[in-house]
């Protein structure tokens, strides 16, 4: 657990001066940030910008979960890594980049494959979770784990020139399963390796995830509870849509939840989170 903070040091007051003068933040908001821990799941295209802006803003602790090592083909979008870090664990590379920007922040690398055996244990230590992952199984896993742990889940995704953002399991808004009770057929699922992505698209969505996490941490309203942002980078359009509320019959967040512990998400989705070689997919 984070050691509670009730005042800012002079060094912090100097460093954060440009956001301390915002009435919506102020000293109280900055202290709330310092007392908040955020878990970033995935130190990739979304997790890199999300993590660095959370670190810059002075979140108390940031955890990065990623089991992969940095590859050259990541560097067109994963801007916290560098050529010198190829082969290094992404979680460590991201955590060390954030520490170099802001040593006031505790940056914790988790070099593990998130799964049903470890998710609740890790999430327990954080207040807000960012879904910056890249596969369906992890998205259902994180959703269920966040509902069971009662943590808001700021979810981002990106592919080609498009991005999507929403906050699940927060206030009266829906969870991922309320929207998607059944997983998509595996042959309809496209990851960034198959479908491609312009690097700055997850850059914009990951930055938006950091913004929403900062607003939630400071006690401001989140703009994407029961709403989803749809971004089309080619058209330059942003559209906000209204989502269904939390569903009473949802099997994880509903009135009579059937899911009370984590399940096998690879089996549920018919795919594995590290399933990079799938070739059927076109969507």
């Amino acid at each position: 657990k984070l050691e509670p903070r009730s005042s800012l040091s002079n060094a912090e007051i100097g460093r954060y001066s440009r956001q301390l003068i915002l009435p919506e933040i102020g000293v109280q908001g900055q202290l709330k940030l310092a007392n908040t821990s955020v878990l970033v799941v995935g130190a990739g295209g979304l997790g890199c910008p999300a993590g660095i802006y959370l670190a810059a803003a002075g979140v108390g602790r940031i955890g990065f979960i990623d089991y992969d090592a940095v590859e050259l083909s990541n560097l067109h979008r994963q801007i916290l890594h560098s050529e010198g870090k190829v082969g290094v664990a992404k979680s460590s590379s991201a955590a060390s980049a954030c520490s170099q920007l802001n040593s006031h922040v505790q940056c914790v690398p988790h070099h593990v494959q998130l799964d049903s055996s470890n998710a609740l244990q890790i999430i327990k230590n954080y207040d807000i979770v960012l879904d910056a992952s890249d596969n369906v199984a992890t998205r259902y896993l994180l959703n269920d784990a966040c509902i069971l742990s009662q943590k808001p889940l700021v979810s981002g995704s990106a592919l080609r020139f498009e991005g999507q953002l929403t906050v699940y399991g927060y206030k009266d808004g829906p969870c991922y399963r309320c929207l998607y009770p059944k997983p998509p057929p595996p042959e309809t699922v496209t990851n960034c390796s198959d479908g491609g992505v312009l690097g700055v698209i997850p850059g914009i969505i990951g930055s938006m995830q950091a913004l929403e996490a900062i607003k939630i941490a400071c006690g401001m309203e989140s703009s994407f509870c029961q709403k989803m942002l749809l971004f089309d980078g080619q058209e330059g359009t942003f559209r906000t849509i209204k989502l269904r509320p939390k569903q009473p019959n949802c099997i994880v967040c509903g009135q009579r939840p059937e899911i009370t512990e984590l399940i096998d998400y690879q089996q549920f989705c018919g795919s594995r989170p590290d399933d990079k070689e799938k070739s059927l997919s076109v969507l």
Binding site: S157, A158, Q164, P185, R239
Partner: protein
């Protein structure tokens, strides 16, 4: 009387429709009212270019596609039973999973 509507596909769903994201469609006059349920059949027969199983499953859209009526989740509007109004904008979004 024909019913003019706008159909949009995004998140990759447009790849099944000649990569065209926006379609202005005039639904033909019909004795039955146009609902999203029979709109789906119309789309399947008239617009879908390939592999219908990547868009539909049975009588409805496949899991992982979100349907919007004028920027609201179709669950708020009655889903398959929603009665289509002239100039409605109906959007089919394939959920993204990448990062």
């Amino acid at each position: 009387m024909k019913t003019p509507i706008t159909l949009e596909f995004s998140g990759g769903a447009e790849l099944l429709f000649d990569k065209v994201k926006k379609h202005n469609v005039e639904l033909p006059a019909s004795e039955k009212k146009w609902t999203i349920g029979n709109l789906l059949l119309y789309i399947k027969d008239n617009l879908l270019k390939e592999r219908p199983e990547l868009f539909m499953q049975g009588e409805t859209v496949r899991p992982g596609i979100l349907v919007l009526v004028n920027d609201a989740d179709w669950e708020l509007m009655g889903e398959l039973d929603y009665e289509i109004q002239p100039n409605d904008r109906i959007v089919f979004i394939s959920t993204l999973h990448g990062g």
